[in-house]
């Protein structure tokens, strides 16, 4: 039962999983039957103006078929004008002939005797141009039977007999073979047997009558429909147009054979399905359709599970989800409040030529959207981008036939500026102003300018990891394109080549796919190129020798390094490597060329050489006497010199010698083992660390007083001074209060502090991640001079550092005070007062002022303000303080301003009590 259930479930799953696809297929079938209908309809609609069709035969495919018939008919009418009676309209039809042959026939006829029988006429029109007009004619019309060759004897009315030579004119072969099933060697000189012609004519007339009748009925029933069908049929005609001769040469095969339907897509099915599903999620909001299959499925599954597996609410709750499942789940996610899917944007990414753009277009069209595309060729500056997004998502074409909603496809988004992407994001995240119920407000929203996004957007990029795309990635439904399957690609290529009359076997096509890394576009272009060059028969040799098709793309550094360090097995024929399949395919010259090609196409010589440098020593190469290592290093230093010259002399012509480094490394270190290559970090790391050490040194140097600064430089600091200096500033101190130091110890302490101040060193309290407090030396020069693996130097204890730190602070203040005194010999009190003046507008005083205001009745604030504050300063006159009331205020203010101590209740703050304190009082 269980099994059955599972089976059932599987089937169910299949149904559900592929519901969309089945849906799509069903629709497609409808569509594909539609064209049939259309084709049936086509004559009905068109027969109305058959004349017009016949006049301009290139418009519709139908007309083409007609043309042949018409051609036959024309000839018939020409030759057998008297024989057949026909509708008057038909004779009108014929009047503009499809080919000029017809007009030339009379001219040709002139050269021959007048009374030729009809059969002669029939042959002559076929070869009008080939026959030279005057002189050759006499050669063909003879008095006597010709000595060689066949001839026809003709007797005219007067009885004289002439012989017409039968010429093997090539012109006869030009005659359309379809029309001449038995023309060769037949005595009846008519191109087509008269019976056949009659049949054709009868059939045609019958058809015409049928069409005519149908047209009439159609006109009666659906006169409106006709108009709608017509443009579509014309569009259809355009689709087939390229099959015409003039399109054959001008259009790229890539365009001509690009898929037009979902089923024709070459890209990975899963990807296609996902995108389609995602797009279908929009149906609710865009078309107002409800999603059908999803709820049904969950309903159906739920009871099943409950009835049979009550203890397992989920089939596989603790299994890790595969990527596919995650993607599926994303698609199953609930719609948001506006019934939009969770991800408003789909982001397709993958290497070029996999059909991303095609997929987006086909699916959007398939899902019933009108595709609006923005790509790199458009202006994508922020404003224009905004305008275009709005135009595409908010508006809808009202004119013309495609009243379908828009689907915006932003191609090549990885090249767009970050500003444009931000705008896109803003559009995505736009919230409806009212929030609330979405359904009721949709009508209102349309009127507002800033309405929410209600149309799907598909973005396409090659590189998913462009920094500008980072914010978008989080909000987008990501679809990474896998490689196209070579088998499918080969099959398609086979079809194309067959259609174009090229003979290519599948092995060749496989090698073509391999050469182009399954790039569809590149494959087809290469095929067309070969076709255009006149290759009708292509084998794998040609494919390999032709220099197009191989992408000059960046393979990535790791690929290059791997190619350098790994010796290729030669049993498999490689495309990139072996241009000629000579027996010695692994020969030195070939490897040389291969690596050189790879290295020079990568372009990042600096990074490449760094990678080589980092990895070459860990290669498993037997090198007992270190010769190859030495040579490799010689090469490295050579390339370093090259680089130096290139950079300093701007001499870029030397750059061509840089890739040879890779070749050397290949020959020195390549091995059949798969190399384990790590990304080169060390040089970057080293440069950052060097920079940080330099910075530490320069911060230290920056504040060293000039008299010492002149004696030291960064170099001497790092080479000689610093290590020893750090030793010197770690004297042995008794772990007691500095007050209890002996005079000698005090002296030592003083010197220590002097030194530290002189060299701009100080201790700063810091908290380690473990929560312990430490004192660290600032600037952090310790790291500059200490080396790992050496015995640790003696460190001061925490207490000692604390003591030193405190003493240093005091010393600094003392010095600052001294300096100030030196500079301004004026009395410090004066200065303090001066300083007090500008600080008078501090918060607490303003607060006090307010309090005072509340207690007293009517005071002008300025008066109060100045009166109170300026009290200690007699030079500032009190403006107006005569009245008694004011005096009370003033006295209060005075009380506040006069005393050194203020009190204010200030919740949660430690500065409740303030007092002016001078440094010298503390020291």
């Amino acid at each position: 039962m269980d099994e059955y259930d599972e089976m059932y479930g599987v089937q169910d799953d299949f149904d559900d999983q592929f519901a969309d696809e089945l849906d799509a297929l069903a629709q497609l079938e409808e569509e594909s039957s539609n064209p049939g209908k259309r084709q049936k309809q086509l004559p009905e609609s068109d027969i109305r103006d058959v004349e017009h069709l016949l006049v301009d035969p290139s418009i519709t495919p139908k007309a083409k078929r007609k043309k042949q018939d018409a051609g036959v008919v024309k000839r018939l009418f020409n030759s057998l004008q008297t024989h057949e009676s026909k509708a008057p309209s038909q004779s009108d039809d014929i009047s503009p002939p499809s080919s000029p042959e017809h007009y030339e026939t009379p001219g040709n006829l002139r050269s021959t005797p007048v009374a030729l029988d009809i059969s002669g006429v029939a042959t002559i029109p076929e070869t009008p141009r080939r026959r030279p007009t005057a002189a050759p004619a006499s050669l063909h019309v003879l008095k006597r039977p010709p000595l060689e060759g066949e001839y026809v004897s003709v007797t005219d009315s007067s009885g004289s007999r002439i012989y017409l030579r039968q010429t093997e004119d090539t012109g006869t072969k030009v005659v359309d073979s379809r029309l001449l099933p038995n023309s060769q060697g037949a005595l009846g000189l008519l191109a087509v047997p008269i019976g056949v012609l009659r049949e054709q004519e009868a059939e045609r007339r019958h058809q015409q009558i049928m069409e005519e009748s149908q047209r009439v009925t159609d006109l009666l029933t659906s006169s409106v429909n006709d108009e709608l069908v017509q443009p579509e049929s014309r569009g259809d005609g355009e689709n087939y147009d390229p099959e015409d001769t003039e399109g054959r040469t001008s259009r790229l095969w890539v365009d001509r054979f690009s898929p037009r339907h979902y089923t024709e897509l070459l890209s990975d099915d899963f990807t296609n399905r996902c995108l389609l599903k995602w797009l279908k999620l929009w149906d609710t909001v865009v078309f107002g359709r409800e999603r059908k299959s999803r709820p049904v499925r969950s309903d159906r599954q739920a009871p099943n599970q409950k009835s049979f597996k009550p203890n397992q609410p989920n089939q596989n709750p603790n299994r890790f989800k595969t990527k596919i499942e995650v993607t599926e789940e994303l698609l199953e996610a609930e719609l948001d409040q506006y019934k939009r899917p969770k991800f408003k944007v789909a982001l397709l990414s993958g290497p070029p030529g996999l059909g991303k753009t095609t997929l987006a277009h086909v699916i959007a069209k398939h899902a019933g959207y009108n595709v609006v595309e923005i790509n790199a060729s458009d202006d994508r500056s922020a404003e224009v981008f905004q305008k275009r997004i709005d135009a595409a998502t908010q508006m809808k074409s009202v004119l013309g036939a495609n009243e379908r909603p828009n689907c915006l496809i932003i191609d090549e988004i990885d090249g767009a500026p970050a500003a444009a992407i931000n705008i896109l994001l803003a559009t995505l995240n736009r919230k409806d102003g009212h929030g609330g119920e979405a359904g009721a407000e949709t009508t209102k929203k349309k009127k507002k300018k800033e309405s929410i996004l209600l149309r799907p957007i598909i973005c396409i990029c090659n590189d998913l990891y462009v920094p500008a795309l980072r914010p978008l990635k989080q909000q987008a439904f990501l679809l990474v394109f896998p490689q196209t399957q070579p088998s499918r690609l080969t099959q398609r290529l086979g079809e194309i080549s067959l259609e174009q009359g090229m003979k290519v076997d599948s092995g060749t096509l496989m090698s073509l796919c391999e050469k182009t890394d399954n790039d569809i576009r590149s494959c087809i272009n290469t095929l067309q190129f070969l076709h255009g060059r006149g290759h009708k028969q292509v084998n794998s040799k040609t494919i390999q020798n032709v220099s197009v098709g191989q992408k000059d793309q960046n393979k990535g550094l790791f690929h290059l390094w791997q190619a350098i360090f790994q010796l290729q097995r030669t049993k498999r024929k490689r495309i990139g490597e072996g241009f000629d399949e000579a027996p010695g395919s692994g020969s030195g010259a070939q490897r040389f060329q291969h690596i050189l090609h790879l290295a020079s196409s990568s372009g990042e010589f600096e990074k490449v050489s760094q990678g080589l440098y980092e990895n070459y020593l860990s290669m498993r190469v037997r090198d007992p006497d270190l010769q190859s290592v030495c040579e490799a290093l010689d090469w490295l230093s050579f390339s370093d010199r090259l680089n130096h010259v290139i950079m300093h002399g701007q001499n870029f012509s030397l750059m061509r010698y840089l890739p040879f480094l890779s070749v050397t490394f290949h020959f020195l270190f390549a091995h059949t083992h798969v190399p384990r290559i790590s990304y080169p970090h060390s040089q970057h790391e080293a440069s950052t660390r060097l920079l940080s050490s330099r910075n530490a040194l320069s911060t230290m140097l920056a504040d060293i007083p000039a008299c010492i600064r002149t004696r030291i430089s960064q170099l001497s600091l790092s080479l000689d001074i610093l290590t020893l200096l750090l030793d010197i500033i770690c004297p042995k101190l008794r772990p007691v209060n500095p007050q209890l130091f002996s005079s000698r110890e005090k002296e030592q302490m003083r010197e220590l502090i002097n030194t530290m101040l002189a060299y701009n060193l100080s201790y700063r309290q810091d908290r380690t991640p473990e929560g312990q407090y430490t004192y660290i030396l600032e600037p952090r020069v310790e790291e500059v001079v200490r080396f790992p693996g050496l015995p640790p130097r003696r460190q001061l204890t925490y207490q000692a550092k604390q003591t030193i730190g405190r003493e240093m602070e005091q010393e600094k203040m003392r010095r600052a005070e001294q300096l100030m005194l030196q500079r301004n010999p004026a009395t410090p009190r004066e200065e303090e007062k001066k300083r007090a003046a500008p600080t008078s507008t501090r918060n607490h005083q303003q607060r006090l002022e307010n309090i005072v205001k509340q207690t007293t009745v009517e005071i002008r604030p300025e008066v109060d303000f100045f009166g109170r504050v300026v009290v200690p300063k007699p030079q500032k006159p009190q403006p107006t303080s005569e009245t008694g009331e004011k005096c009370a205020v003033v006295s209060l203010g005075k009380a506040v301003g006069d005393s050194d101590v203020w009190f204010r209740f200030n919740e949660g703050m430690s500065n409740a009590v303030r007092r002016n304190v001078y440094i010298r009082e503390l020291l």
Partner: protein, 356 residues
């Protein structure tokens, strides 16, 4: 000013402790009034700067010791701002143009020209020229040095240049020929010892002569280092003992260990380890040429006589390449690898010789 190096630095030519005859020559140079451009060179720690400052004091009096630091911003033609620190007194100007890196030419052109072009105001009471002291001239780029040539000649009347460098080899010929070159050699071991002893006496300490000698040797006669070492010894342990361990700079110890690692094993794996150590040294602001020099010195002490010449030759070759290139690590490693190869071959040959 409490490190002994700073505290007991002589400030007058007459008070210098060694190379006294050179000091008198300098004094004469000042007194004869025809003061040329100077190129003072010598190894680090020999007292170049001290001598120059003494000379300046001899020229201008005690006013040169009132120094200040000026931060100047110079805008290069490429609109790039270069910030440079200048130590200046009223009479002279000290610039380390190599701080500006590749843009040092601009510094030379802009800064020195403006200084050199301005006349001294009161030429009657003082010298009629200012002095521009350029330090680390050997680190100047060639461009900057060429920019200096004409400036030196053109503004001879208002400005004298004193160039200070560790070696003349990187100073271009035209500049060398425009200057009076003064070499300040390292003090001898005895001189170092005497300086140490006298300073300890001034500090009221008793320095055993053995320890003094040890310090002098360990410091490589670099007087600055010797004094610092002595003071570090004092911090480490006082009273001094004759066989006290003298603290050393970490990078030298590290370099010695690196050299030992090279000698003890020669393989690509060891080369990788050595590379990590070389990187470590480079990131600690140790210049590559000094690493190379230290490495060679350490390696040579482990080499046999006939190998020494070859190693020295290789060292010279790779040092030259190092100067030409820009990525020091390649060249250092190339030298190491080459040494490993030579050394290994030598050892194997020796082993083969032993076998027969």
């Amino acid at each position: 000013m409490s490190l002994w190096v700073d505290k007991y630095r002589p400030t007058a030519l007459g008070k210098l402790d060694y190379h006294k005859e050179q000091a008198t020559q300098l004094k004469n140079l000042v007194q004869c009034g025809d003061f040329p451009h100077l190129l003072v060179y010598g190894p680090s720690g020999a007292g170049k700067k001290t001598r120059i400052m003494c000379l300046l004091r001899e020229l201008y009096g005690a006013g040169v010791e009132k120094l200040r630091i000026e931060h100047q911003t110079i805008v290069a033609p490429s609109k790039k701002k270069i910030e440079i620190n200048i130590i200046a007194s009223n009479y002279h100007l000290e610039v380390n143009a190599s701080d500006a890196g590749n843009q040092d030419r601009v510094v030379i052109q802009e800064l020195i020209k403006t200084v050199a072009q301005s006349q001294q105001i009161q030429s009657s009471t003082q010298r009629e020229f200012k002095v521009v002291l350029l330090t680390e001239v050997d680190r100047l780029t060639k461009d900057a040095q060429h920019a200096l040539r004409r400036t030196m000649e053109k503004y001879m009347s208002t400005c004298r240049l004193i160039l200070c460098s560790t070696s003349t080899s990187k100073v271009i010929g035209p500049i060398q020929s425009r200057c009076l070159a003064i070499r300040v050699p390292l003090p001898s071991t005895e001189e170092v010892c005497s300086v140490l002893t006298s300073i300890c006496k001034k500090e009221g300490l008793l320095l055993p002569p053995e320890l003094a000698k040890q310090i002098a040797q360990k410091s490589g006669r670099n007087l600055r280092k010797a004094l610092l070492m002595c003071e570090a010894c004092r911090v480490q342990q006082y009273p001094f003992s004759a066989d006290q361990e003298v603290p050393q700079t970490d990078w030298e110890v590290y370099l010695r260990e690196t050299a030992n690692a090279i000698v003890s094993q020669q393989s690509p794996q060891r080369l990788l380890e050595v590379r990590a150590r070389l990187y470590e040294l480079l990131t600690h602001c140790i210049p590559p040429d000094i690493i190379m020099k230290g490495l060679v010195t350490e390696l040579l002490s482990n080499c046999d006589g006939q190998l020494k010449t070859e190693v020295a030759h290789m060292a010279a070759y790779y040092e030259h390449r190092l100067q030409l290139g820009s990525k020091a690590i390649y060249h250092l490693e190339a030298f190491t690898a080459k040494f490993m190869a030579i050394y290994k071959k030598f050892m194997e040959d020796g082993l083969d010789g032993m076998m027969f």
